[in-house]
Subunit: 168 residues, 3 copies
């Protein structure tokens, strides 16, 4: 787990003053983009608190919160947030998708990608860039040991996560 400080910026897709669409008391959709800058090539961030803040702000009490990283070389998933386990998780990604084998995506003869990040693409695809969770009583439903984790597979980079809360 990185000990660097992460700079997180939230850019409202609509101004905070604007009421969520549409009718008060009925179904509404509330959207935000959360941005940050990562520090390491393979880095894990605990974004649970940020997502809960957005859910609270949305005014949705019962419904869904959908997270979507806008980058193919990243992922969003659930796991326990424990230092020893996060170390194992990083090792697992390096085992299940080898970084040091031949990839056509990294070969200038076949590809114009200069980042040599075929392994990052495979890790992002395997883990998935989307996560949908239930909102209950105006908070994200999570089990005792469940944290929402954003995985950077090709940092350092600037990253954006689209968050949409919908329901009543």
């Amino acid at each position: 787990m990185s000990t660097h400080k992460i700079q997180i910026v939230e850019s409202p897709a609509v101004s905070d003053e604007a009421p969520p669409s549409p009718s008060p008391g009925g179904y509404k959709v509330f959207s935000r983009i959360v941005d940050w800058i990562t520090n390491d090539r393979l880095q894990l961030l605990n974004i649970t608190d940020r997502i809960n803040e957005i859910v609270r702000k949305s005014g949705v009490k019962e419904g869904l919160v959908h997270l979507q990283s806008l980058h193919t070389t990243s992922a969003v998933f659930i796991n326990e947030w424990q230092d020893a386990l996060l170390h194992d998780v990083k090792n697992f990604f390096e085992q299940v998708v080898a970084g040091d084998q031949y990839y056509r995506h990294n070969d200038p003869e076949y590809s114009d990608c200069e980042r040599k990040n075929a392994d990052s693409h495979m890790r992002g695809m395997l883990m998935g860039q989307t996560l949908c969770l239930q909102v209950r009583n105006a908070t994200v439903l999570l089990g005792t040991w469940q944290s929402i984790i954003f995985a950077e597979f090709d940092g350092p980079r600037s990253r954006s996560l689209a968050v949409q809360v919908s329901g009543v």
Copy 2:
């Protein structure tokens, strides 16, 4: 595939008599928690019928049903429910995430986890604890050979699945 009997208990988040929130005819959200006790360390359960029961009870005809296991060492996914294949599926989990290698999460020097379940965490993270499916004509939309499977990766244990049906 286990031949043990599974004890499943459904605890209504709201009473069955209470109407789903909010307006009749409009968008509504219907939530339930389903509980059961597993028997084996790695066990697969077919929960398709239970989910369909909840969808029918919800009164939602068109919309989404969202399933979320509240435990990091479990998963929910789709596959064909066939004995021979389920045997292969269990073997696959043991192949893709090795159980007998060193994990820091299992090492008392780094971790206070006494269950030695790093492999269970990795399997749960890889397969995902959430599944979202379409509701059409008041039933879960599934192809002919698709069953909804709950995977226990660290049993025997008591497990809870949050089910939310939303739509019209």
Copy 3:
């Protein structure tokens, strides 16, 4: 990446003339089934444009689009659509799930499946048959390099994808 032409047929679950359910201006659900025939055993299709067409037709401006392949030996996920990378992606599937090992599902003594497709089942299960994405401003929200990919793991076959757009 296959150079064959793919035949795609869209069969409206409801006629195009029928308004989406229910109230104009409020929450609605719009459903379609998209069909096509694949050409290769392991084949990747870029279905981004087809999904955006359906989202536009739905009249939903803010909400969710849910995709569900109705077949256990297929998957839907996100990645960059680049020839060199797609070549690597296919190799990855063949590495992470071995095709040439013993599977009980392929053994006539245990299984009546004649397709010998245990590897296809495992790949479909690992990658997942569902994908949920945000709809913003009447289009599917995707990052610059994100394409929606349908993976055939047991072709050639006729395949159906259920698409549901919901929101306001």
